[in-house]
Amino acid sequence: MVWRNLPYLAEGFAVTLETSALVILGGTALGLLLGIVRSGRVASLRHAAWLYIELIRGTPLLVVLFIVYFAVPPLIGHRFTAYEAAVIGFIAFIGAYIAEDVRSGLASVPRGQVEAGLANGLSPRQVLWLVVLPQAVRRMIPALFNQFVRLVKFTSVASAIGVTELTGATLAVNAREFKPLPLLIALALAYFVAGYGLSLVGRWLNRRYAIAG
């Protein structure tokens, strides 16, 4: 029975993977931006970033999605599709968490590196881009992949605003077939494989690129 519905479920899985990929890219970009701002020199920007991060981290994911999908459109006069709202919401959400990891990653680069860069005549921006970031990113790999794995799990919440990703697709099939147990077990297995696979990729990357000590 699961076999018969496989195309539909596979489509849902594809949506899940697609959403995850988009959000990983967007969220990492947002997280990097926020993290750098948070560690930066302009106080007002630092506080603004801090405020955003604290607000998002204190809010449940489902509520963030509801706000993006239901509450924001009346204000800006533009309606998002469920998928758009989900991607925006996830990026906004995970970006705040990644920002904190980025901040610790940046802080973990020895101060001597920054000083050496400046002493060699690099501008502060060049120091950040050419010296600190490459090292920081390599240290952040485990933390980042941790967030990525969390993200793959979180995409299931998009089903609550009607996105037909894997969970949504499974629920739809269940509504037709009424065989919840095998379907849910298959669903759990799919997420387990996706998450575990991603964490293995992270571990491989970490072995290859991490800085010793």
Partner: protein, 222 residues
């Protein structure tokens, strides 16, 4: 902007919000109890000497953590229909099992960070292995990991919002209900998110102030 704000709606529906909040707290606290019970058992097994026990604990942790919480909830609500559990208890079970995996890892790390000498000394003093565990290891381990466990309560409160999807009338569900009646989407959801934020921050501050001392890092959020 053509949208007229009406924040009074939060006051007019304060009873519904209060009821929702009470359910959120109930879900979170019961979930925490369950998670602690499961997690301490699994964490101790994971840190122990027996390979089989470690294997079981490890499997539980990996499976429970990698499956999304929402799927956990649907599993109990839809999957095991033979049990016909009320939605609230499906939520509690899902939260307990999911968070229990995290507690297990925290407890395992805590137990493993207690110096080996403590166990040796306890056994040498004539305590049985169980007595050593309960009276010597646990107190030290729990003191080390207490801040992480407080962070867990905050996480649980936020995670409890997912129970609204299986129709538990907690805070997020209440927001939806208010929105359904008044169409005040923005006020309802922003109001509720502020409520979550205040609660989580309060717990964080409480943790920082009561668990004073070495284990607490002021930079961290709990």
């Amino acid at each position: 902007m053509s949208y007229q704000f009406d924040w009074g709606v939060l006051w007019r529906y304060r009873e519904a919000l209060a009821e929702g909040f009470a359910l959120t707290l109930a879900l979170s606290l019961l979930g925490l109890l369950g998670a602690l019970a499961l997690g301490i058992v699994a964490g101790t097994a994971g840190a122990g000497g027996r390979r089989a026990a470690r294997g079981f604990a490890g499997t539980y942790v990996e499976v429970a953590r990698n499956v999304p919480l929402l799927v956990h909830m649907y599993f109990w609500y839809l999957g095991l229909t033979a049990l016909r559990l009320p939605a609230f208890w499906c939520g509690v079970l899902a939260l307990a099992i999911y968070s229990g995996a995290y507690v297990a890892e925290i407890v395992r790390a805590g137990i493993q960070s207690v110096p080996q000498g403590q166990t040796a000394a306890a056994l040498a003093s004539g305590l049985s292995p169980r007595q050593a565990l309960v009276h010597v290891i646990y107190p030290q381990a729990l003191r080390i990991v207490a801040p992480s466990l407080a962070g867990l309560l905050s996480q649980l409160i936020k995670d409890s919002s997912l129970a609204s999807v299986i129709s538990v009338g907690e805070l997020t569900f209440a927001a939806g209900a208010i929105e359904g009646e008044t169409f005040r989407t923005f006020e309802a959801y922003i109001g509720v998110s502020l409520l979550y934020l205040v609660t989580v921050t309060a717990i964080s501050q409480l943790t920082l102030r009561t668990l004073s001392g070495r284990a607490v890092d002021p930079e961290m959020r709990y």
